[in-house]
């Protein structure tokens, strides 16, 4: 392999590595999101079994005077 060929190969490798690293990071993020979904689903299921919704109420305007 000549030097020139080596450099060309290096250039392609760099591009490939960039995309690979990016996809790996994305995949890691996706798996985290998947875990989050599972967790939230479990939470929602539990909530349903307990049979209670959110108790928080926004403040209400009251007339006075």
């Amino acid at each position: 392999m000549s030097t020139e060929e080596k450099y060309v190969a290096a250039a392609y490798l760099v591009v490939f590595l960039f995309v690979l690293v990016y996809v790996l990071i994305m995949a890691a993020k996706l798996s985290r999101l998947g875990r989050d979904v599972a967790e939230l689903t479990a939470l929602a299921r539990e909530r349903k079994r307990a049979g209670q919704g959110s108790t928080e109420q926004p403040p209400k305007q009251v007339r006075v005077g």
Partner: protein
């Protein structure tokens, strides 16, 4: 689709496009320049989304703008690295100030890195969306201004300007180039949709968590 295009591009580059007097470094050119053009396209798309955010308050435009610029920076970094290697092969040095495109990319790379610094140092919300959109618009204006400036600078810094794409391209070379460009664009688009989907999912989950809490 993206994979097919990429595979096709690689095949064309290595088995179809003739090697002219420039030598093997041509093979880098077929990837380097499409990546650079794709990067511009990403910055332009990001600025368009930023404009939509400011002008029409399109919901979600801020996120789209951010993701597009993120892609642009990734492709910009690839441009810098492949360009540097190309310069090494062609001129024997790692960095050539005479290559206008490469210098422009360095400026843009710095600019958009500052964009990320800005984005991560402001709390998310409408104000951050506005700041980032304004800065993204500055970026798209900076591209032609910088290009012009660098061209002007070369006349007092560098007496000779390297031409980026040697002699006229033959049809086969042009075809290869176009396929490679299409491949890069579709790769960028695919990654853009991919990242966007992830980010949207993330936002939805955050909201869901809050609703359930």
């Amino acid at each position: 689709m993206t994979t097919v295009l990429l595979g096709g591009a690689v095949a064309l580059i290595f088995f179809y496009a003739p090697v002219d007097q420039d030598g093997l470094n041509q093979k880098i050119f077929y990837f380097h320049v499409p990546i650079a053009l794709t990067s511009y396209a990403c910055f332009g798309w990001g600025a368009l989304k930023a404009f939509q955010h400011l002008w029409k308050r399109t919901p979600g435009a801020d996120l789209e703008s951010y993701v597009a610029i993120h892609q642009g920076v990734i492709f910009g970094a690839m441009t810098l690295v492949t360009g540097s290697i190309w310069a090494k092969v062609r001129w024997g040095v790692w960095w050539v100030w005479g290559d206008e495109q490469l210098v422009l990319f360095l400026v843009l790379f710095l600019f958009y890195c500052a964009y990320f610094m800005l984005r991560f140092s402001v709390d998310p919300g409408p104000q951050r969306a506005n700041l980032c959109a304004v800065y993204a618009l500055f970026g798209v204006v900076l591209i032609p201004i910088s290009f012009l400036a660098i061209r002007l600078a070369n006349s007092y810094i560098h007496p000779t300007v390297f031409t980026s794409n040697g002699p006229q391209m033959a049809t086969s070379q042009l075809a290869t180039f176009c396929v490679a460009w299409a491949a890069m664009l579709s790769l960028a688009y695919f990654l853009y949709r991919f990242e966007l989907a992830g980010k949207r999912l993330d936002a939805d989950l955050k909201e869901l968590r809050e609703l359930l809490a």
